[in-house]
Every structure is written in structure tokens, then in C-alpha cells.
């Protein structure tokens, strides 16, 4: 534990989301319930982003896109690995963790 008294952004989002899901959502129906679940989903994504930090954006994306389109990365396994890792890093923030589908 650090000496800082105030909870950080990831902690705040986590407890706010838990409160929303436990104390508010059960009282809601229909459109209000659907929207509250969307809010919980947004808080989960923001919480993971606060926890993991921003994903490095693809450097020189414009140039690389043009090169891919021109065929300069055809059959390039290194690029396949790099793109896969780029997707996985972003999924760690944007997607529900595996096994929690439908939460």
C-alpha cells in the first residue's frame, strides 16, 4: 500500500461498476436496464484501460497501411505476428475477458 489516501481511477471504476450492478441494475427493467448494462460495460473497458495503460498505437500506421496495400508485406510472417500482438493488446482492454461472455 502506498501512502496515498485517495483511490485511483481503476479502483474507483471497479467499485462504481460493482455498485451499479449490485444495487441499481436489479431495480431496472427494459430500456433502462439495457442502458445501465451498457454503462457497466463502458466502465469495465475504462477500468481495464486505467489498469493496463494505453495500448501503443501502431507506429507510422499511414505508411504501413500504404505498404500493405502495395503488397510490400505479402507473405511476411513478422508482420502477421506484429498484427496479431497488436490485436491481442487491444482486446485485453476492449473485449470481455474469456469465460465471462454474457456477464
Amino acid at each position: 500500500m502506498s501512502g496515498i489516501a485517495e483511490p485511483g481511477p481503476a479502483d474507483l471504476l471497479k467499485i462504481a461498476r460493482a455498485t451499479l450492478l449490485q444495487d441499481i441494475v436489479p431495480h431496472l427493467t427494459g430500456d433502462a436496464r439495457f442502458k445501465a448494462l451498457m454503462i457497466a460495460n463502458a466502465m469495465a473497458i475504462a477500468g481495464r484501460a486505467a489498469q493496463y495503460g494505453d495500448v501503443d498505437d501502431f507506429e507510422n500506421a499511414a505508411e504501413i497501411c500504404a505498404d500493405i496495400r502495395a503488397g510490400r508485406y505479402d507473405d511476411n510472417d513478422e508482420m502477421v505476428e506484429r498484427l496479431l500482438a497488436y490485436c491481442q493488446d487491444r482486446c485485453a482492454i476492449s473485449s470481455k475477458p474469456a469465460g465471462k461472455v454474457g456477464e
Binding site: 451498457m38 463502458a42 496495400r69 503488397g71 502477421v80 498484427l83 496479431l84 490485436c87 487491444r90 473485449s95
Partner: protein, 326 residues
Amino acid sequence: MDEPRRSALAAWLPDGVSIVAMSLMSGGAIQQNWKLDVLVDGTPQAWVLRTDSAATLSHSRPRAEEFALLAVTHKAGVTVPEPLMLCTDLSVIGTAFFIMRRVEGVAAAHRIVRSDTLGGGRDKLVEALGRELARIHAITPAHGGLDFLARHPATAPGLRFVADMRAHLDHGRTHHPVLEFGLRHLERTAQPAVDIVLCHNDFRTGNYMVDEHGITGVLDWEFAGWGDPHEDLGWLCAKCWRFGSPHEVGGVGSRAALYAAYQAASGRVVDDARVRYWEIAATIRWAVIAISQAKRHISGTEPSLELALTGHIVPELELDIMRALA
């Protein structure tokens, strides 16, 4: 609908038809659907009136064309709501509209993919989907009545798709290396069409209605056009349209059941590699749409939690693309 417009509608309807009740069923950004209960010579009938929203997007298919699509597909035996009458006279209710018979059933994708019984059971429903697609794909450019659909260029449908998506990406002015990589793969592996047929182009769970026995209506024809029959099969099978379900065909049932029923009904052999090609294309198309939806939020033109969250499905779509290519 206000009283003057409702009166104008009542006056426009054929003799012997009277409106009993009318209410808004669903109001999308593009279209509105009105539930219309009428008496026809004293007999109750359930209709739907479909019209443009006030703020119509210029690229939405005009109602007259949608009506023509329903008429042609209904005649070809596709399970669609029977189209009844069309009005292109803007002086009646202010926009063009048409009336079709109302079909009952469940369209909500999350309910359909979770149910083992809706539509007659998983593989029964998938077989019925295969037969619907076979009937749609029996319609060719030689059929009359669909001359408004853009003529199909001589190039491979995959190349046309790639050019289309690249134009969208360039217009959006953001850079998406994974989508570019997927499009380059599709460009390099594009094949000539096996046949050029009518494609629904949005044939997926969520866009058809079912009851306990089967399909009650194939809906949402606004993207229909000429193409390769595998385009629709790939869209239906794509992982992004399974709604979290493990079942490969629309989250509903098995690929084997779909292919067998489609082949039996169409006489056309399903080329699995071509279906997989169009599954990658489907994932790219959905990602491009999701990016443009998220941009409406990010740009501030339409702040919306739903649009903002749609942007966050892009990484998973891109991961699906890379897994299919790796």
C-alpha cells in the same frame, strides 16, 4: 402520425379498408415501421406500414425499390412479408411508404441463439435458412423487376468488395493496418464468381423472424444486390454474427446442416473455401461499419454510449481476421 396524415392515409387506402388501430413499432434512424390493424370488408387484417424517417439518409434504398424486392422474392417463394401496396405520392403522408402483411415471431438474435427449440430446433432452423438462401439465389439478373440494382461488373466480386472497403477506409482518413492486411489477402485470393445471383447482403441472425416451427419472415433487404452466392453464406456463418454462441451458422446450428440443405435446394455445390473467404470479408465489412459508427460519437456529431461501445468491438473483429490469416 398526426391526425391530418392519418386521415390522408385512410382516404388513400382502397375502398372497403378502414384503419382500426395504428402505432409506431420501431423507429430506426432510417425507416419507421407502423403497426396497422385494419378491417378489409369487415375482416380484421394485420399490416405494417413502412416509411422513411424524417431525416432520411441519402443512401437508404428508396421504398419503391424495397417494395419491388419484396414482390420479386415473395413470388420466388422466399418467406418474406407479402407486399400489398406502394405509395410514392409524397402528398399523402409526406414520405413514400408501402404496406406489407405483418408477420409474427421473434427476431432478437440473443434469444434465437440461446434457444434449442425456436425455429423448430437448431439444425432444422439452419436447414430452413439454407432453403431460403437457395430461393433467393435462384433469382438472377435475367428476372424482371430488379433493373434498379447496380449492374454487376465483370471483375471478381471479391475485388469489387476490396475496392469498396478501401474507398470507405480512405474516406474515413484513419489507418487500420489489420483491415488493410485482410483486404490485401482478399485481393490476392479473389476468384471469379461461380454465378451472379441476387444476394440479400445482410442475411444473418437478427434479420429473420422465427416462431416455434420455422422462419416466418426474412427481413431487411436494403443492401440486396447482385453477387456470388457464397457472399451470403459467408455473412451468415461469420463469427461476428454468432452472438457469443458456439454454433457456427448464425449462432444457431451446424455448417454441415446448412451446406447440405442449401445444396439440395439449389443444386449448387457449396465451396467451403469460398464461404471462408466471405467470412473474412464479412468481418472486415462489420469492422468498417463499426469504425464509422464509433466516429459519429468520437467526432461529437452524435454523442452516444452505444456508438462509443461499438468502437470497442473492432479489436476483437481484427483479432478474428488475423486468426483466420495466420
